[in-house]
Symmetry: C2
Amino acid sequence: MTALQFVLETSTPNGPRAGIMKLTHGEVLTPVFMPVGTAGTVKALTPRDLRRAGAQICLGNTYHLYLRPTTDVIHLHGGLHNMMGWGHPILTDSGGYQVFSLESLRKITEEGVQFRSHIDGSSHMFTAESVMGIQETIGSDIAMVFDECPDAKADRAYVERSMERTTRWAQRCINSRTRSDQAVFGIVQGALFEDLRAQHARALSAMEFEGLAIGGLSVGESTEEMYAMVRFVTQHLPRDRPRYLMGVGKPEDMLWAVAHGVDMFDCVLPTRNARNGMLFTDDGELTIKQAQYRMDLAPVSRECSCYTCSHFTRAYLRHLYMAKEILYSHLATLHNVHYYVNLLKRTRAAIVSGGFQEFVEEILVRRAAGNNRKSC
Amino acid sequence: MTALQFVLETSTPNGPRAGIMKLTHGEVLTPVFMPVGTAGTVKALTPRDLRRAGAQICLGNTYHLYLRPTTDVIHLHGGLHNMMGWGHPILTDSGGYQVFSLESLRKITEEGVQFRSHIDGSSHMFTAESVMGIQETIGSDIAMVFDECPDAKADRAYVERSMERTTRWAQRCINSRTRSDQAVFGIVQGALFEDLRAQHARALSAMEFEGLAIGGLSVGESTEEMYAMVRFVTQHLPRDRPRYLMGVGKPEDMLWAVAHGVDMFDCVLPTRNARNGMLFTDDGELTIKQAQYRMDLAPVSRECSCYTCSHFTRAYLRHLYMAKEILYSHLATLHNVHYYVNLLKRTRAAIVSGGFQEFVEEILVRRAAGNNRKSC
């Protein structure tokens, strides 16, 4: 297996780790935030913008790309890297999460999932083998196994059955691999049942995956439940492979997870919330439409070195937002992606220098103070 | 008057001219296309993008900026250049065209125009003096006089009365000037009546304007009527001052006007049509949503050096368009603005080298052939 090499630079048992993940399209320093590029674009950003924001790796989504532009178009380009003009690492989600979200539109069997397209209602089938095939065509550096992410309200019996099927699918995914330049990660499920989580973590860790992900969190459970489960599951994952917490989350959530040994994150919050008017800073979030920013000549954050903060005022960004200008989404996304990516870079530097605890405490205190002040 | 110096590098009587226009924020080589930044942003582009596309000067609109973000916000920033992060020349339209478009929402008197905001219905008054004051606060390099652009269907009597009032307003604009670093252009009206156009051109040319614009075209008349009027009016404009054809137009229209001695152009076509899926090239327009581009690995134009054409295929752009991705608007606008700006740069080079006729013929033939082929 040469598709992924993972070297830990510094780590403490069950604590924060700084690593280097070597992939086909380049190295990724961990812990890392991976901006989400669902349909072959991180919304509102060019690859050039993404790179300038410090991104080392971004996500694509198998479900969305399979439906549009469809696999043949990606194949014609020689893969997603070429098509979207991003020469650096890409991770693809398997589409499992998306098809299981289409509750009324899908049917699960041992073979796979029959579902209807959210675009045109057409009927499709995803299996472990087909999803791996699509991801091989996409040519991502890291492919994710086809898993079921059970509903947050599912009972123990269902979660257990689903988990066992996900394990069988995981083995089928491994069996269908044909590319030696693509890493594959397993996804640990088990909802909020500790024994099931531990059992699934052990089962997947015993398989030939280059990394392990924690799935099925940030799907409706409380923050406390999520935090407890992240702490629990990481203890059951192999130390020598990268750990990816899927779909999480707020800055505080990522810092908690890093503290317990997670290496990789993705989340739509920085991009989606940017478009909705929320801008992230060390002093909490700004809701840019608020009247208090109408005459505010400060940048979003004085400490931020992104293009947006280097050139534009809050008052101008508020104006663009109120006028529904496309440039607003571009500049806001630039800032938020820069913030997220660099929060993880700063976290890594703190781990390496031995100042992780102090760093996390400062961020948590400042952000809590800022957000409390704003909601008063 | 040092707000504008205009030097003609090469010119022929009533023919094409290559000039240098020195403004407070820099030099502009003419003929020039000026991208439209209505509300303080060329839609979907950063100032950095705009500069990379080759833009030397862009437009702002007094009506839109006055209503939103409002003049006090622009004043607080020390002017529009600072607010929008564009350190190069800016021209502002006076708002005349906009308020006269609000047909049911405005009332014209000798004093000025009472109108209702298209945003919230609030009542406002524009006069020659107030519009000049707003443009001085905006701090544009070139301000336009407050004029009336009569309806295309207006009769001769109305056009004549309106024109005479526009002349009185023009004098009031001049009388109210207080900034020596801002040039002011007069606007020749007169609809499609040659004698009125000639009379107005003479009247405005006799006043202390640093440049003259041709207004009231591209408002519903035929292409033949517009072409004839451009040729006619330019003969009645002073040779030593820049000439600006407002709101025009297609590549062919601009080449025609340059051939008859026009120096400056603005138009929303490259930006608006980009967002609607139309991409300009020397071989005619591409409608990117067409199925023929689904598997097309070519760039929009092989001859184009813009970021979009250097990095992305038609197939990818079509995908982004179909998926309603914001990045589509960004990349398409980048290309179209680059095309328009550079078409005028290439035109200037052809004038300077003495190859203007050949250049125009080649472009017209190629574009006509391309557009005919596409519509077959």
